[in-house]
């Protein structure tokens, strides 16, 4: 060993100190950056006994990252569904009620509450059938019920259209993220090939993956050259060396019965009932579920209620001279209706149901047709003597509200029920979906925050740890400097001795 060897060692110590300081500085400055994985300087002994920073390792944890991404996807999916359901639930909310003894009718605006109001109005009308104002109250209650169904149907349409346009923006976000990912992936592959530090690029890559998992559920694999491939959670390739095209054509208007377009990757549908490999999570999956399954089902229930109403209040042939005339719409009808709807064919009725203009005084109609029948002409008159106290038709209508009738089981609420029970069941169905989605959002969000905490603890920066390392380096630097002066002194002494 020679003094010059000691100089070399001191020199390498300075270099290694500087390199470690750089790493620490980088860590400290990124302590608050989301997605930043802390770096560790790997110090090794070099050939002449000094120390070198051989490499800088990025403290990544792909398992935890995958968990964060998966839970983010789940949470985003549930959130998209919950947002839509919350909007729908507003149409049936009854939170403004007080259970006072006054028999308030402030039970919200759900079709169910409006139907109950109509029943009450009819019951009052029955007690004074010749009172035009009681008849007018029935027409008003009926109009409110029709309006409630109309607005419920409009809310469903609006939620579906919103979901459709959100899907479009989600798809464009996915495409843009995949493009960015493509560049970052290329940087990593070439960086690894040339031995450059790719930590920053890897941070960007992980952040992009987390952003992507917000929109769509993904899984990833990394090949030997460092290139990452992305697949949807259903196994469709989104990125492998090149980004795949995710395409979607939005639909501006989604009336009842109309279905929106599916999202496709390279022509393969990944949403909708026909998709062979449908995605399970991510905002896109939640929106597609809302648009294609949940909202249409509620629409079908509203349509069934509307169809049931038109049927329940329909008039049958009362004439003794004619036989076999078809039953026709009474209090409730739809514009241009030519007969009563069947349970299997009610699509769009909730949007178009209205109070029959023939009984609505504000449209030139005659309220007394409610008491006597005959909305559809003289063959349908129930009160043939014109007696003022006749209540038979009113009682029949009251009975029809609570009578069991047939519904289409595909709406999800059974096939046979009374109108009131069906309307209540529909409210229950919606609120239960709403409650479940809301609970799921809470749960998934807590999963996300736990996974994020775990990832942050595994890969994040602790300022205290960095500070301690800094002190070590500072000490090492002081000692090295001392060493340098000592060696220098020794050289000086040697030179003086010569």
């Amino acid at each position: 060993m020679s003094l010059s060897a000691a100089f070399n060692i001191v020199n390498s110590a300075f270099l290694s100190n500087a390199a470690q300081s750089a790493v620490i500085s980088s860590n400290i400055s990124n302590a608050g950056t989301p997605g930043y994985a802390r770096e560790i300087a790997n110090v090794v002994t070099n050939s002449y006994g000094g120390s070198d920073v051989a490499s800088v390792t990025r403290e990544a944890n792909s398992a935890l990252l995958e968990q964060v991404n998966a839970s983010t996807s789940q949470a985003a999916s549930e959130q998209a569904l919950a947002n839509g359901l919350a909007k729908l639930a507003q149409t049936v909310s009854d939170s403004a009620t007080s259970s006072s003894a006054s028999g308030s009718t402030e039970n919200g605006n759900s079709p169910s509450a409006m139907l109950a109001n109509l029943q009450d109005a009819l019951t009052t009308y029955e007690d004074s059938p010749s009172d035009a104002s009681a008849g007018q109250a029935v027409v008003t209650a009926a109009s409110n019920l029709a309006a409630s169904l109309n607005s419920g149907s409009a809310a469903v349409q609006q939620v579906r259209e919103q979901a459709d346009s959100d899907m479009a923006s989600s798809v464009s976000t996915i495409n843009s993220l995949l493009d960015q990912f493509s560049q970052v992936d290329a940087t990593i592959v070439s960086g690894l090939a040339t031995g450059a530090n790719v930590s920053a690029a890897e941070d960007t890559r992980d952040t992009l993956l987390t952003q992507l998992s917000q929109q769509i559920g993904i899984s990833t694999t990394t090949s030997a050259n460092g290139s990452t491939s992305i697949y949807t959670d259903s196994g469709v390739t989104l990125f492998q060396d090149t980004p795949r095209t995710v395409s979607f054509t939005p639909t501006a208007t989604l009336v009842a019965g109309a279905s929106g377009n599916a999202v496709t990757v390279d022509g393969v549908p990944i949403t909708g009932p026909s998709a062979p490999m449908a995605i399970q999570s991510g905002a896109l999956a939640g929106l597609a579920n809302l648009r294609d399954t949940v909202a249409p089902q509620y629409q079908a229930q509203l349509d069934q209620i509307a169809g049931g109403l038109i049927n329940a209040f329909g008039e049958s042939d009362q004439s003794t001279t004619t036989t076999g005339l078809p039953s026709l719409p009474g209090l409730f009808t739809t514009p241009g209706a030519s007969g009563l709807p069947t349970a299997a064919d009610t699509t769009g009725l909730a949007a178009s149901i209205e109070v029959n203009p023939a009984v609505d005084p504000s449209q030139g109609g005659d309220v007394s047709l409610l008491q006597d029948g005959g909305v559809n002409g003289s063959n349908y008159v129930y009160n043939t003597t014109g007696a003022a106290g006749y209540t038979g038709r009113i009682q029949e209508m009251i009975g029809a509200i609570t009578a069991t009738q047939l519904f289409d089981p595909s709406a999800g609420l059974g096939s046979s029920d009374s109108l009131t029970d069906y309307a209540n069941a529909s409210v229950s169905w919606l609120q239960s979906q709403n409650q479940q989605a809301s609970n799921q959002v809470d749960y998934q969000n807590s999963v996300v925050s736990q996974a994020t905490a775990a990832l942050s603890n595994a890969t994040g920066v602790s300022l205290d740890a960095e500070m301690t390392n800094m002190l070590n380096i500072e000490n090492s630097y002081t000692t090295t400097a001392k060493l340098l002066t000592t060696v220098d002194d020794m050289f000086t002494a040697l030179m003086n001795a010569v």
Partner: protein, 353 residues
């Protein structure tokens, strides 16, 4: 090492979700403590929402029926009062007739006046209205059930009786020729063509506009009862027949024997009418009773419903108050901890060189 490693960014934000959650719970609790109900009923009840709504709807329906029953009670009471006054009138008529028979008086104005007054009173009482509806009209409640017999232009009923008498005897009761009518002839006329005036199509066309169909109302869910009676009941016909006999033949040229026949026929008819009207009144009383029972049963049902609605909707005020306290303590602790944690940094303890 990594098991106990805590990153600075997590340390700083660890309590943020707790704080956000606590704050949102606090706003809900504030609403709940001021309204006494869950902040978002739909979210709270979930699939019980429809059940809760059905309870509220049932409660409202019972309330509506109870209110409507007030009107039914009013109509039935009006019927009952009218029937009572008809009964009193009939009883008076019977006792006056007995007095008259006992005194053995011949044809005079007493008998006629008795008949005229009683018939007028019967017609007026039968045309009683309640709430703008004729209570004895059956479903035809908008038309006065009994036509005025004594109108200035002779009523259809009066004309028909006169013509029946003319057909039977060839003269009018006030003609001198009527004195030849024997008691037996009179008896046969009274039970024959005269009696025919008070039943069937003659009654419907000359006397009554009432419908034989009574009004019916729902007084409780699924319970529909007849809530009126009508002037086509036998009692009304018998009374009208008895009174009309007296008013037509009371002060006529009939022989004393024939007169006696009229009086006793009238007395017997009015007595029959009395028992028939009594039965009708009992029917009205029974309906009233059913309405009262329906009301009290609905009232207890509503109490149960409201309790059940309360169980679903209402929050436990004490629990809310306790939760509010707990949460605000928790929030304060979270704030303090966050502040404390921010201070816990090695940088604070390093000597400044």
């Amino acid at each position: 090492m990594s098991a106990t490693f805590v990153s600075t960014s997590y340390l700083g934000t660890a309590l943020l979700p707790t704080i956000a959650q606590t704050q949102s719970s606090l706003t809900n609790l504030e609403v709940e403590s001021s309204t006494g109900q869950y902040a978002d009923l739909g979210l709270q009840l979930g699939d019980q929402s429809g059940y809760e709504l059905s309870l509220k709807n049932q409660n409202d329906l019972l309330q509506t029926l109870t209110t409507g029953n007030g009107l039914v009670t009013m109509n039935l009471t009006a019927s009952q009062d009218a029937l009572n006054s008809i009964l009193t009138e009939a009883q008076n008529a019977v006792s006056s007739l007995t007095t008259w028979s006992a005194s053995g008086n011949a044809a005079d104005a007493t008998l006629q006046n008795l008949g005229v007054n009683a018939l007028q009173s019967l017609i007026a009482t039968t045309n009683t209205t309640s709430n703008g509806q004729y209570v004895f009209g059956g479903v035809n409640s908008s038309v006065a059930p009994m036509a005025d017999y004594f109108s200035s232009t002779p009523s259809a009923a009066k004309t028909a009786i006169d013509s029946a008498f003319q057909t039977a005897f060839g003269c009018l009761p006030t003609d001198a020729a009527a004195s030849t009518i024997t008691a037996a002839q009179m008896q046969s006329f009274l039970s024959g063509s005269f009696a025919a005036q008070f039943s069937g199509s003659n009654w419907a066309s000359n006397w009554s506009s009432a419908s034989s169909t009574n009004t019916s109302n729902q007084i409780a869910p699924g319970e529909t009862i007849e809530t009126s009676t009508n002037a086509n009941q036998t009692g009304f016909q018998q009374l009208a027949e008895g009174y009309a006999m007296l008013s037509e033949f009371g002060d006529s040229q009939l022989s004393s024997a024939a007169q006696q026949t009229v009086a006793s026929a009238a007395s017997s008819l009015i007595t029959k009418g009395l028992s028939s009207i009594t039965a009708t009144e009992a029917g009205v009383g029974a309906s009233l009773q059913r309405v009262t029972e329906a009301n009290s049963s609905m009232s207890s049902q509503m109490t149960i419903l409201q309790t059940e609605i309360g169980d679903l909707d209402d929050v436990n005020a004490q629990a809310v108050a306790t939760q509010l306290n707990t949460l605000s303590t928790q929030l304060q602790t979270a704030y303090e901890l966050t502040a404390q944690l921010q201070k816990l940094s090695l940088a604070q303890y390093l000597p400044v060189s």
